[in-house]
Amino acid sequence: MKRFSSFPSIATGLNPNRRTLLRGLGALGGLLPFHLREKQAQAQGIPTRFVVYYTYHGTQPRSWFPRNAAGGIGTENDFELASIMQPFAQWKNDLLILDNLNMLSTVDDPTPPANSHYAGQTHSLAPVNRASGAKPGGISIDQFIAQELNKNGPVTKYKSLDFFGGSCETKYHDINSVGPGQTYTGECQAKTAYTRLFGSAPSASGDGPEQTALKFRRSVLAGLPDEFNAIKSSLSAADKTKLDAHAQALRDLEKSLLLPATGAACARPGSEILTAAGDKTEANFEVWARLTAAALACDLTRVATLNFDELPESVLSGVGWTPGKFGAPDLHELAHGTDERSGGLFLNPEAMEMNRQYHLVYARAFAKLLKALDEIPEADGKSVLDHTVVLWAGEIATGNHGLDRLPWLLAGSAGGYFKTGRYIRPGKTIAHNDLFVSIANAMGIPITTFGKASVCKGPMPGLKA
C-alpha cells in the first residue's frame, strides 16, 4: 500500500523515490476504525472496486504456500512468501494469502465436466451446478457484484470490464457468466479496449458537435424500450425475460452516456501505453494492467476481470522450454507431469523448475497489476489498490486438476474492509463460495450465501479488519 501526502490529480509521473519515501511515513487514515475510514472514503467519493485476476493450470503448491522462517507451515502473521510470490513481495502487507479453500460446490454436481479443466472452470467464479459440461450454471461473482452495484441504474459507464490479457491468437476460455450457460468473451485487443474507454470522452454539457452527437445517441436509445414493450405482450414469459434484459441494457447504455470519466485519481492515459517494449506476451500484461488501473481510477467501472488464461509455449522459450522436453508435448502436459501428488515428473528438478517458471510469468504479471493500481493516488492519500480487492483465482489448484487448496489470494483491502498482510489458513476446508460472500460484503452487498447455498457457511472467517 502506498501513501501519498498530497492529493494529486494526475496519476502518472510520480517520482518512484518520492513514493518510497512516502511509504515510510505511515498511514494517514490507517488509525481510524474501519467504519470511519469507510465514511471518509465515501465522503470523498472514492469507490471500492473488485478485480478478478485469472490464471491457468493452478500452481506449484510448494513454491506458493507460505512457510515460516524455520521452514514450517506459515501462520497468520509469521510467514515468508514462497518463491512464486517473490515478484510481488513488496506488496506483502497488502496480501491476504488464502489456504484450505476448496471448490466444494463441484462435489455433487450431477453434470459431468467436458474435461478436467472445465470441472473447476465452470465452478470457479460461479460456484453452482453446471449448466452443461463446459458452461457454468449461474452468474459469476464478478457479474453478480457488477449487477448489484448498478441495479438502480448505472453508477459507472461500464458495469464491468472483461479483458483477455494474453493476445488474440492464444487460447481463451470464457470464465465470466451472466446467467446459467451464459458466458461471454472478453476483449483481447488492447487497442479496441483503449478506444472504447479513453478514445473520446465528450462532456455531456455544452452544445458543441460532440454534445449534439451524444444527444442524438440518447434520443435513439431512449425510444427503443417502447419497441420491446410493444412486442412483448404477445410472447411467452420466457421470451419476455430475454427481451427485458435487452431493453434494460439499452436503458443502462443511454444513462451511462451521461457518466463522465471522473474521480480525483482519474487521468486519461495517453495511447502510448499501448506500446510497451519487450517480450510480446509479458508486455501485453503491462498494457492490460495499466488500462485496468486507469479505468478503475476514472471510475469507468468498479468491476474488472483480467483473464490471463493459458500461456503460449513461446512464453518460456527464454528459459529453455521446447515442446516435448521432459516427455511433455506442451506446457499443459508439463503441468500434469509436475503435479506434486501424481505427476511422473515430480522427482525431476529441472521439470519442476520449468513449471515454476511458468507460474512466475503469471506472478510477474500480477506484480505489474499491483504496481499499476498502487501507483495511482486517491484523494485520501492512499492508492487505487487500497480501495480495491483483487482476487487471484484460476480453474484448478494444481497441474493435475486438484480442486482443493486453491492457490488463491486477495490483494488490496477494499478500502480497509479486509485486514491484509496475513496468511489465512482455516482449520477446516472452506467452500470458495464463502470467499465470494466475503468479497460481495466488502463491496457493500449484504449477502450470506452465493451460488450453491448448501456448501455456504457465511462469509469466510478471519478476513475482516
Binding site: Q182, Y184, A230, S236, L250, E310, P323, G327, P329, E333
Partner: protein
Amino acid sequence: MSKTKQFGLALVALLGIGTAAGCSGSAGSNDGSVDDGKGGSGGEGGEGGEGNRPSACNGIQGGGWAPIVRLTNRQYRNAVKDLFPGLSLPEVALPSEPVFHGLDNDANTQAPTPQFIEAYEKAANNIADAVLKSPGQLTTALGVNCSLTAAPSTCGPALVEALAARAFRRKPESAELSRLKTFFATSQQGADATTALRATLSRVLQSPQFLYRVEVGEAVEGHEDLRKLNSKEMAARLSLLLWESLPDAELTALADDGKLQDTDTLEAQVERLLQSPRSSKAMASFTQQWLGFSRLEKTSKDTKLFPNFNDQLKADLRASLEAYVEAVLNPKTGNMRRLLTDRRAFVNGNLAPLYGLSGITGANLREVELDKAQRSGLLTQAALLAALAKPQIDSPVLRGIYVRENLLCSPIPPPVGIDTTLPEPKPGEAPRTTRQLFEVSHGRPECASCHRYIDGIGFGFSHYDSLGRYRDRENDLLVDAGGELVDVSADLDGRFEGAVELSSRVAQSEAFAACLATNFFRFSLNRAETDADECARDQLTQSLMQSEGDMKSMIVALVKSDAFRYRGTAP
C-alpha cells in the same frame, strides 16, 4: 427399437459398469470451446440418451422450447447488406458469440450483454450514417420513389416504412408505423430531416423486430404449450437458416399469401433457395462448426522438426479443407457418406508435398485424385490430421476422440487426477513408434479403462504423421495401423485396418447419420435436443439413411418437420 437407440443403451450400460470412475457419459457432441488439445474433451451432456422412447411417434414431434432467438453475427451482417443493396456500408464489429455444443447460435446462451448492446448501437448509427451519404441510392435501394432532398418530411417516413417492412420480415403494424413516424417527427424538431431519418433508421436497426426472430405463431388445438408458426415467421426461419439472411421477394410474396405453412410449398422453396450460392455459404457455417474447424487455427508445429510449417501453410491447409468440405457436403449435391469416402483433395504447390504429389505449383488450389490405398475423405485430409496432432508427433488420442465425438457423438469423459505425460524414451533405448509410446503409457489399468475406447480408433491413423503425411515406417519401424471400434454400435464395433477402412465403415453407419442429424437439429433450431425430441431426431436420421447420406434430403426433412414448424412456449 432402432439401432441408434440400442447403441445408446449399450454404450451407457457398458460404460457405466465396465470402466473407471469418470469414464461414463451420455452421447453428445463437443463444445467447440472445449477441446484445447488437452487430450480429452467430452460432451456437454444434456442429451436424452436414456430417455424412454415413445412406442410410436404419433402427434406433433419436436416442438421443443428455446427462448426467442437473436440473429447470429453472420445473419446480422448479411441482413444489413440485403437491406441496403448497392450501398457502401461500414464494417460491422460485433463481439464473438458464445459456443455451445460446438455451435455459436444456441438461443439459451445469447445473453444481451452490454458488449452486444453497445456494438449494435454503434453499428446501427454507422450504417445509418453511411446510407444517408447517398440519398439517391438509398431511395433506389429501398425501392421508394421520392426525393429526400426535395421533400424530406414525406420521403423520410416513406423510406422508414420501406426499411421496416424488409427489416421486420413483414409489413409493419400500424402501431409500429405510427411509433416510427412519431419518432421521426420528434427527431425533426430542432434538427434537419436527414438527422431525423438517421435516428429513425438507427432505431429500426436496433429494434427487436429486426434483431430477434419474433415468433408469436398461432394457437394449436389441444396443445396449449405449442404455437404453430405463421407463414411470415416460416419465411424468416427458412431464409435465416438456408441463406443466413432475410427472405427474398419470392419468399416474402408467398409469406404474404399465407402459403408457407404448406409442406409441399416449403419443400419447393428449399429446392429453390438451395440453388443459390448463399445456401452453400450458410451450410458451410454449419458444417465447419460441426466438424470443429476452429481447431485448425490452433494447429502449431515444432518448426525444428517441421521447418516448412508456417502461417501460409496453415492458411493453405484450412483453405484446402474448406474446399473439400464444400465439394462433398454442399447442400445441393452433398452427401454425408462422401465426406468420409471421397478420394479428392484440393492442393496447391505448398500442400502437394504433404500428399507426396509432384508437378503441382502455384498458390491456387487444384482438384486432385489421391491414392485410394492411402486416403479416404475427411479423416485423411492433411489439414485435419495436422490439427489432430501434437506439435511434434501425431496423436492417436486426439484423432480417436475426434471420431468418437464429432462423427459418432459418443464422447468419453476425460481422466481425473491421472498423470498424462508420455514416457520419455530412456537413453540408449530402441526407438519406438508413436503407437508404441501410447501403448506403454495407456497400458496401465487406470488409463486403459477409458483409452481403449479412444486409442483403438486412434491407432488406425498410425500411417499419418503430425503434418498428415503418409508413412509406412516410423523411426525405421513398420507402422501398425490396426484399430478397433469398441462399444460404439453393433454395426460398427470390431477390428479394422487403417483409416481408409475406418472411414468407409463409419460412413455407412447409422451412428454417424444420427450424429450429423443431432448436430443439424441443434443448429437449425438454436437449441439442444431433449428427450421429447427423440422421434424428431430419428426422422432426421432416417432421412439420411434412406437417401444414402443425401444432405438435401436431410435439409428438406428438417424444414418439413414439426420441430421446425412449431414452437414450444415454455421450458
